[in-house]
């Protein structure tokens, strides 16, 4: 373990940065959850979003979710919370030991953000994308140093789910792999490392399954409640696929399915009409108060 750094000797690009200091990009469902995980483990976080309102809302959501994490005994006892800062400028990334990108699931947006960040951080800084489905190597192409990018697919909510899927892209370097392992250890997450591919393992399996569950409802075979009751009661799914859709956010699910469909050609990944309709109606799941279920 490193001693606490002396602020008087700290200069930009100093090679003894604080142990971990995260910049999280995107203050949506996952940006908030990852921030809660980090703060709860004592790591400082700078949370960035283009939308000022999102950041204001995120501060309240973070307080609530920190309490949820505490309620569930998910935080290490006796660890003081990390300090939170928020802002709309990516420049904060210059001071980070790791940057976690959790912006909208859109390859062009992610490439633009990662490319800009790559020009701001000190060389050697770990860059993580939390993409659900976009191949890491596709995004790495936008970076100044593609070897710094690793995929880490945190699940929602990250502070209650102990395992994270780590994706090594074709150009990901050993240094980045070691850095992500150290970070996940500090966050007490178990890492399972897999090869790069559209949707990796978890989204490739889960998202078409949820899509099918939506089709079953669309075709009138069963209600959402009954689909979930069967998947829970007979097949041991912890929450049911449609409650999971509401937890993920149906807009994000549609984006991820679209990424998968475009890159695999698998028709099972073409977003179901019912999902598209829910998005048009603003029924995005828990985050908007209503999706397959009503949370208001």
């Amino acid at each position: 373990m490193r001693l606490k750094e002396n602020p008087l000797t700290t200069a930009p690009y100093d090679d003894s940065p604080p142990r971990h200091a995260l910049t999280v990009l995107g203050a949506g469902v996952m940006g908030v959850g990852i921030t809660v995980l980090a703060l709860g483990h004592g790591l400082p976080v700078h949370l960035v979003d283009v939308d000022r309102e999102r950041l204001d809302r995120a501060a309240d959501l973070i307080d609530g979710e920190l309490r949820l994490a505490e309620l569930m005994g998910a935080l290490p006892a006796g660890t003081p919370l990390g300090a939170l800062e928020t802002g709309t400028s990516l420049k904060a990334a210059a001071g980070a030991t790791a940057v976690v990108e959790a912006v909208t699931e859109n390859a062009a947006i992610k490439a633009a953000v990662l490319s800009e960040v790559s020009g701001l951080v000190r060389p050697g800084t770990l860059l993580i994308t939390n993409t659900s489905s976009i191949p890491v190597d596709e995004l790495a192409g936008a970076l100044e140093r593609p070897e710094e990018l690793v995929g880490t697919h945190f699940m929602n909510p990250p502070y209650l789910i102990g395992t994270a899927e780590v994706v090594r892209g074709a150009r990901t370097g050993d240094h980045a792999m070691a850095a992500v392992a150290a970070l996940l250890t500090a966050l007490r997450r178990r890492a399972v490392t897999v090869r790069d591919a559209p949707g990796f393992v978890t989204s490739r399996i889960l998202h078409p399954m949820i899509n099918d569950a939506a089709r079953v409802v669309e075709e009138g075979t069963a209600t959402a409640e009954d689909v979930d009751a069967l998947m829970q009661g007979c097949l041991g799914h912890p929450t049911g696929p449609l409650r999971t859709a509401d937890l993920i956010g149906i807009d994000n699910l549609v984006d991820s399915l679209t990424v998968l469909h475009e890159r695999t050609g698998d028709e099972g990944c073409r977003p179901a009409e019912l999902l598209l309709r829910l998005v048009r109606e603003g029924r995005l799941g828990r985050k908007s108060g209503r999706g397959f279920y009503d949370y208001t």
Partner: protein, 89 residues
Amino acid sequence: MSTPDTHTLEKELLEFLEGRTGTAWDADTDLFDAGGLSSLFAMQVVVHLEKTYAIAVRGADLRLDNFRTVRRMAELVARLQAPAGGQHG
């Protein structure tokens, strides 16, 4: 000194839970064991108790064990509502 009536509290809490979950519960049933309610719902219950009974659940009190059954919730609310130190009782 007025001790909050835990029996009334339990009744109110059971009505609240039935309204929210569409299921009738017993005061002693573990609400969160396998097949029961979710952790996200647990947090909604905490917020509901704080708002309804003007209490703040903090520190060591904020743990699922205090909310597992309606009886335990009522005990917690009664304890947090009781005036601290008893000087004004």
